[in-house]
Symmetry: C2
Subunit: 172 residues, 2 copies
């Protein structure tokens, strides 16, 4: 059995890059989890700023975007395609909510568990292979269109909405 | 002389990881540049939401944070230490602004040019070496405290404030 020091020493540079980007993703997701958990179901109805999206919409939006990462990163089938219409295609409050707050929280938790588990388990070199929205042929010409690029873009996207959630002043 | 195809083929996996994270950083910075450029000097005085930070403060805040990345990533001396007090230590509007909008924009441009140039030029494996806030000894035990971790955390941070800037409704 390898000691932890030996384990470290056999890591390749690619392994250490993969550890770094996965660690950063995990931290960004923990931060979002904490933010969403800080809102009661009633508070999810608040807007991030006057006239802007509700927290509820951002929870659905991030769930839908992350659910779509499963096939995009070739990590498996998505879980909640029905969230695309209300939380990606439509703007907030286009139609009455079809999903309850507890059900939406469950969708977020399910998607997070499946996605983040698969991300943590992906072998290092696999991050450098194509994502699902680029053909094998195009990827041959543009090798930067890899899974890593998706993870990085979605991390900035998560930060984007996290910054908005941080603005919410809870009503007493 | 190597053709561009041969250049690609001699890239190591670590090189391709480095290309990916630097590309993502560059995109996040281009996005922030575009947002800040979209505000007139007068509009920089607007708040991102009622009672929250002004755009002007976020411009100074991101300039100070990124300026500090120069020594933190061991990429050289910082350029504007005088921005720490008003934009990091103090909250917005603690005291009257000591810097004009054009001067603050210049600081942002100077810091961006130096930092982003050095980031793009860093050899791949250097991302896996320690950042300046960890000792050699501690780094030996915790190799994840590397320059890559700083870049990733600051990318999420940039996204965080980018999401806030996107909320500003410009007054006519």
């Amino acid at each position: 059995m390898l000691t932890s020091q030996a384990m470290t020493s056999i890591q390749t540079a690619a392994d250490r890059f993969a550890v770094g980007v996965v660690k950063a993703w995990t931290a960004a997701m923990a931060s979002l989890d904490k933010q969403f958990a800080s809102f009661s179901d009633d508070e999810l109805q608040q807007e991030i700023a006057p006239g802007k999206n509700r927290v509820f919409y951002l929870l659905g939006h991030l769930t839908a975007v992350h659910d779509r990462m499963l096939p995009l990163l070739r990590l498996g089938a998505r879980l909640y395609p029905e969230l695309d219409q209300p939380f990606l295609t439509d703007a907030d409050r286009t139609s009455p909510d079809q999903i309850s707050a507890p059900a939406l929280r469950k969708a977020w938790a399910d998607v997070s568990a499946k996605l983040n588990g698969a991300i943590a388990a992906l072998p290092s070199d696999e991050w450098l292979t194509r994502h699902d929205a680029v053909s094998e042929e195009d990827f041959g010409k543009e090798p930067a269109r890899n899974r890593l690029s998706v993870l990085q873009a979605r991390m900035t996207h998560a930060g984007f909405h996290s910054g908005q959630l941080a603005l919410v002043v809870k009503k007493k």
